[in-house]
């Protein structure tokens, strides 16, 4: 069995945990009471972890380019390969949208994005009118689409592991 590289596997699972965590954090923090002790730090964590995800995302794309993933399993149907490929592409596009829109919300009035107090990502564009509202909508829809796609992606992996009993999932473990 030809596995994904150790780096690719690490990046995959780190990002899976990070993205699901950020989604939950994002949904949760918007419902917080003003007097919750997390009201102030939660968005700070969300932004900080988000920027870490952007770095992992960039690293992952570079790594994928330099170390192409293993070929699809020989017995997979052409439509299965196409579907899996389309899903992966969708993840990249949707995640890029989440990252860009998140950055645009945080920098909507020329404030930098904090990264765990270690550094601050400066605003790179002059804000446009209604930036935080438009970026907010994009962020929400794109994040939900990532989570729905992740559920389908996981369902596919489990189906291959349990029903087809092939190595699709094990290659990533």
């Amino acid at each position: 069995m030809q596995k994904y590289t150790r780096t690719a596997r690490s990046l995959h699972w780190l990002m899976a945990a990070g993205i699901i965590g950020l989604f939950a954090l994002g949904v949760w923090m918007r419902e917080l009471d003003y007097y919750s002790p997390y009201y102030e730090p939660a968005p700070y964590w969300h932004k900080s972890i988000g920027i870490v995800m952007v770095l992992l995302f960039a690293l992952r794309i570079v790594w994928r380019y330099l170390n192409p993933p293993p070929a699809p399993l020989a017995h997979h149907q052409a439509w299965e390969k196409k579907l899996a490929h389309a899903m992966h592409l969708f993840f990249y596009v949707a995640l890029a949208l989440v990252f860009i829109s998140g950055y645009l919300i945080a920098t909507a009035d020329n404030r930098p994005v904090p990264v765990f107090g270690l550094l601050e990502l400066p605003p790179l564009f002059t804000p446009f009118d209604g930036q935080e509202d438009i970026a907010g909508e994009v962020h929400e829809y794109a994040a939900w689409s990532v989570i729905v796609a992740a559920l389908l992606h996981a369902a596919g992996a489990i189906k291959h592991h349990v029903i087809d009993k092939d190595s699709t999932l094990r290659r990533m473990l």
Partner: protein, 191 residues
Amino acid sequence: MKKFIAASAISLGLFSAPLFAAENYTIDTKGMHAFVEFKISHLGTSWLKGRFNDFNGTFSYDDKTPANNKVSVTIKTASVDTNHAERNKHLRSKDFLDTDKFPEAKFESTKVEKTGAKTANIYGKLSLHGVTKDIVIAATEVGAGNDPWGGFRRGFEGTTTLKLKDFGINYNLGPASETVEMHLNIEGIRQ
């Protein structure tokens, strides 16, 4: 025939003009000599100030017949500005102004009661967040006079206090932050 038309025009004009005409003013939002500002306590430690940037209105002023005095102002709620994009976004959300559902707030006066030479209580209905309530604005005339560009202007300052809960805004900001003080400055150009 020409004479007749001219005569009727004049008489109609005379009839339609009230004896004591109120002066009608448009609030100068074009040159922005008007401000709808608010302040609310932050945790009881400081004042948070903000304003609405987009509004328009008119008023009628009649020194002799108080019943002719009127004010009408419409505010675009989405223009709330507290100098912090994420907070503005939160204020526009369902937690506060719900500006998608209630894009406008409106004040329509019902009665103006003089309380002094330059002061008056302006009674009226404020529609905000889908709730219409009677409020009173304590107003003071700041000044009036010709402007340097051929117009005539009159300006007022007013304050009122609103309870957020009265308007169905129930987000808990703490016991010190249940009321918001409105501070209004308007300058009208006589039409």
